[in-house]
Every structure is written in C-alpha cells, then in structure tokens.
Symmetry: C2
Subunit: 382 residues, 2 copies
C-alpha cells in the first residue's frame, strides 16, 4: 500500500482518496482555480479537455501568463522528450496540451530533444539514442504543431547556435544546486552534470514568458530556472501541470517505456492494445460477477475508467453515465475496458496515420519552417 | 622562504639548490635524458635551444612520440591559451617550443582558446574575454606557425563541430575525478566543471599521438586524458615540460598577467622593459659594489642571469663567460641587466612587428588555411 502520509506522487494519490491541497503544498505549486480555468478558456475561446476534467490541475504563474497575453506581451511554449525509447500514451499528453495552447493562443513552440542527456544518463550508445530520436521525432511531428511556429531541435545538432548562451546559464548554477535538485553526485559524469544549463536555456529563447506544460513530477527541475531568471534579468518560466498517467497495472507509479507491457505505446497495433488492456489493466471491479453486481467498482483505482475520464472520453454525459453504472455494479469491468480499447485504437490509428505522413512537417519544424529558419540563422542571445 | 621539502614548483626549486629527480618524482614524469635529447635533435636535424639548456627538462612518453615518428606514424601538437589578459614572456615559450616541433617535424598544430573556461573562471564578461582573445590571437599568430598546418579555435565558436565528440569524453569523467584533479567542488559552476571534457578533446583530433608542450605545473591536468584514452581506444597524450618562467621579483612563483609590473608583457615597449628590469628584477648580486667585487653574485636566484641562460642568450660561449664573470664579481648586476634588456627588446620588437602583420596568417589559421578548412568542414569524431 502507498503510505498516504509520504505523498509519493502517484496518480492514485491524486485521483483516489488524497487531498489535492497537500500534494500542491508539497511542491509549493498553486491549484488551478475555477477562476483561472475560466480565464484560460475565455482567452482561448475554447475549452481544454484536460483542464476541464482536472487532469491538468496545478500551475506556477499561469495567472501571469494570462496577464502577459491579455496585455499583448504574448508568451511561448517549451517542452521536450528524451529519446530513450519508443513513446507511450503518457508522453504524448504534454504535447497535446502544448498544441492546444499553440492552436488557441497562436504562439511559438520550442521542443528540445536532449540526445546528449540520454547518451549520458543511460548505457546507450548514440546509435540507439539516434534510432529512438528518429522515431520520437515522427511522433512529435504527428501531433500537428504549426510547422512555421514550431522549432524542434536535437541538442547535439543545435549546440553551435546555443552553446555560448548556455555558458551564461551555467555560470549561474553551481554543483551543489544540481546535486540538491537532480541528485547528482561524485559518480555523476560531468556531461550530465552540465546538462541542466541546456535544459534551462530554451526558457530564454524569447523575451516573453515561457510556459512549460508537464507532469507535476517535473516541477522541481524548473526550480533552478526560477532562481536564476531574475539574476539575468529575464522572466521566471511558468508551468501548468498534469497528473501522471498511470501504468496499466495501477498504483505503482507512472507509465514507463522501460515497462512496455504495462504501457500503451504509440506504435501499438489494435491487437496489442486489446491484449494489454484486457490482461494488464488494473480493475476496481469485484472478483466475481455476482459480487460486482452487488458492490460495484472502486472508480478511483480502476485504470480503464480513469483513462477514459482523464484522457479519452470527452462526452461529459457518457463518462458520467459510465461512472454511475460501473460504480453501482450495472456495468462490468470488461464492458468498460471495451470502451477504452475502442477509444485507444481510434486515437492510435489516427496518430499512426499522421505519423506516416509526418516527414514534411518534421523537416519544416526542424529546419525549413519560418521559426526553424530564424533559429538556425541566429545565435541564441541572453 | 620556500620549504624545500614541500616542493612547491617554483623555478627556483628547479634552477637553484633542489634535486631535479625529486621534482620529477613528485609529478611522476620522466627526466629528459641525454639519449632522448639526442634522439629528438637527431630526428629534428636541428638543436632546440630550450632543450639544449635544460629549460625543457621533463616529459611523458616523449620516447613514444619519437618512436611513432621514426616508424612513420607521425604525431601532432596541441597547446592553447586562456584569454584572461594580455600575454607575457612566460606564455610565449610553449608556443615557441611548439613551433620548433612543427618546423622540424612538419606536423599539424591545434591551438585552443578556451574562452568559455575564462568566462566561467573569472568575474569576466564575454566582452572582456573577447577583447583579450583578439589580442592573444595576434600574439599567437605572430609566432609564425605554418598557416596551412595550424588550426586555432575559440571553444564557443568551434563548439558545433566538437560538442558531440566532447560528450563522449565527458561520459568517461565523473565529478569526483575533476574534483580530485582540478579541485572543483560544490561552489564550482557546472560550466567550469564540464570544461575538462573540452580541454581533453583536442588530444583526440587526430588518430596519431598528441604531444603537448607545456609548463610542468600543467602536468596533473593531463592525468585524466591519460586515464581515459585507453578506454576509448586512443593514444595517451605525450607531454614535454618546461620549467616555469619566474616573475621578475624572483622566487615567489611564476610570471602572471595579473601582476604586470613583475612580468614582461608581449606588448611592452623598450622603456617599459628597461624600467621593469632595472627596478624589479631580483638580483643575486651583493648590495654594495665593493662587496659584490669580493663575493660575486648567486646565479641561481638572479633573474636577469636565469632569463638569459634559459630563454634569450643562445651563444653558449657568451653565457658561460657572463656566468663566470658575474659569479666571481667581475660583472655587476647592472651590466647583466643591460644585456637582458637588449635581448628582450630585440625579441619583443621583432614579435610586435610580426604581430602587426599577423591578420592574414591569423585568418588562415582560424578559417581559411588547409587544416582550418578541413576542421570546419568536418565534425570531430572519436
């Protein structure tokens, strides 16, 4: 059992029986209030599904992002993915959130591929990192960002344009800080130890405020940015946090590429999805049909229900109905799983179709689009 | 007084009353034997003044460099200078040594300008570092390297071509190693902490063996290179060490740009030189003329004599005669200083003339010469 007092950040703490306020308190972030949600949706002129369902629930300075926007100062988005394996459903959520902001606020998006970091972190060779990067790049391109307002870059490739600016970031970060925040120590290699400078730099790619959509577990890694930004006369990066996407198996932490059997991978075919959901998805239902009809399911720990509610079923009426029926025993786990399988396969089918056709968009976002050309033609200055 | 048992590396320990063997033992380097000196001179077809006078006196794997050369495998040279101030006489010695090897063995020279390191080490802004770099670059160009076989690069400028290779070096160095070798710790910024990867990388610019001519005090900084080279299937860098060039004031360590009054700067004019040598150069002579005529000078601590012997007076007969006469009181300090002033001004005058005309050579060594073009057209691979 998870010790609720230790507040390990599992989505179950969040979805289940634990007080949001304490989690938000632990990280020192702020709750996304109804007021702020309305302000975001009002400015966007559209509702965001994840925000609406409280899957995105916490933030830092999101109010300032809206203030900047309302005053015409704009903002920009920054996200990324470390190419250490094929991507899964959990990875794509921040990208979809990012796309929603781009679509509705018409702003630039910068996407970092820290191939250097993944080379340093794992036992990987660059050939492996590069293989994953090529696949991940297609996934990201398939999300459908504006190819003229999006710049995707691999660190080892773009470094010539950003190294000097990164040295200025690095000058403001000492070893004890990265030790405290990232847990680096004497056995950490000096490459990984330097990487935080490159992770932070893109938050200064534009003069305006940077907004980072990410899982709440990523929050501590931006502490350094918020410490040094005022020292170099720049704005602290804002963040908007989603809950973590649980593994199929449930309460033991978030989905991971290193456990592909317990994750839905973006490359999974319909039969993979069916097999994984049916065999691996943790159920909040009862063991026997009879017992289930009597007691109903515990929705707070049921993966199929939570995924539908948080990520895939945007019909408010229908999710409420499923929740009610499943909770009182009128629906069985298998039925809920079937609905999830259908939603997942539709989502993945569309994604994979776009991924196949992503080559041109990827090229624009990396090299040939308007923003990419600007980034390649200029050195980053801070 | 210097505690002789602690073996602080001052040139006086070396020139004065201390056993060479102990110094070499402390660093674990090897003495440049008469045999090896002959082998170098034989292969070069010419005598090197600094080697001949034992100002260059210690090495690591210099025998292997000669072996590689004799077997037709060649070698290459690597040196550099951190742009943190105007250069002085002490700085130029390693460059002149390097040029001698290039001239006589017809090999490539790589010269690093670690502007990033100097930005990280000192309170400097890049504008200051760049100002010094521009001046230092002219000094280095004035040494007269072969413009088609020499590549001079500033780290922040060349980084795009060498970053990925440097990440491989960095993966083999952990924080505890740079802490032990460079004394880095919790208050060191993460940029400086990463810099050793870039310092080491040029030792792998070619497949052959790298030879680094440098002051013996630099030796420990190459330990890491020699540790990791075998791990990545490359050769350990060889070094050939000169003694340190003393400050004018004598026994308190080596010449430094931060004490320009006690150093002869490459930009000094004839009157500066006269004033500094006359007023600041530590004398081994006696206080009164009468006493001096009786007791003579202590050559081992006399700056003017040592500089002539080690660096500027290549006439063997004449330096012997000066030594004899000064030592027995037949020559006065002022007379020896006059000889040094003449030699220094002739050396600096020629240098400054070449420096004024160095623009074209500098451009070739940085961008347009044969080796420079090769380096810019290819990414460094290790």
């Amino acid at each position: 059992m998870v010790d609720k007092n230790s507040f390990e950040v599992t989505p179950w703490d969040v979805e289940g029986n634990v007080d949001y306020r304490k989690l938000i308190e632990k990280f020192g972030t702020e709750r996304l209030t109804e007021n702020l949600k309305e302000r975001i949706h009002g400015n966007a002129g559209s509702k965001n599904f994840y925000i609406d369902r409280d899957f995105v629930f916490s933030h830092r300075d999101m109010d300032k992002v809206m203030e900047d926007y309302e005053e015409g100062d704009g903002f920009f988005l920054y996200t990324g993915v470390g190419p250490s394996g094929p991507m899964h459903i959990g990875h794509i959520i921040s990208f979809k959130m990012t796309k929603w902001f781009q679509d509705n606020f018409d702003v630039n998006v910068y996407i970092q591929f820290p191939d250097d970091e993944k080379y340093w972190t794992r036992g990987n060779k660059y050939e492996d990192v590069e293989k994953f990067a090529q696949d991940n790049l297609k996934d990201v391109a398939a999300v459908g960002f504006d190819p003229d307002k999006t710049f995707i870059f691999k660190n080892t490739e773009y470094i010539g344009n950003m190294y000097k600016a990164a040295t200025k970031v690095a000058k403001n970060i000492n070893n004890s800080v990265v030790s405290a925040v990232f847990g680096f120590g004497s056995s950490t290699n000096i490459g990984l130890n330097w990487y935080p400078a490159l992770q932070i730099l893109p938050t200064f790619f534009e003069e305006g405020r940077c907004l980072i959509p990410a899982g709440i577990d990523q929050d501590p890694y931006w502490r350094i940015q918020r410490d040094i930004a005022p020292k170099i006369g720049r704005k602290k990066a804002a963040q908007i946090h989603n809950k973590l996407v649980p593994a199929l198996t449930g309460p033991e932490g978030k989905m991971s590429s290193s456990k592909p059997r317990d994750a839905i991978m973006l490359n999974d075919g319909p039969e993979d999805v069916r097999k994984k959901v049916m065999e691996r998805a943790y159920s909040g239902g009862q063991i026997t049909k009879k017992e289930h009809r009597e007691k109903g399911a515990d929705l707070s720990v049921d993966v199929a229900y939570q995924w539908l509610r948080n990520l895939f079923l945007d019909d408010d009426q229908r999710i409420k109905e499923i929740g009610r029926k499943y909770n009182n025993g009128d629906m069985l786990t298998g039925e809920v799983k079937e609905i999830l399988i259908e939603k997942l396969n539709s989502f993945l089918g569309e994604h994979q179709k776009r991924k196949e056709k992503s080559t041109k968009a990827k090229k624009k976002m990396m090299y040939k689009g308007k923003l990419a050309r600007e980034m390649w033609n200029n050195k980053v200055e801070i």
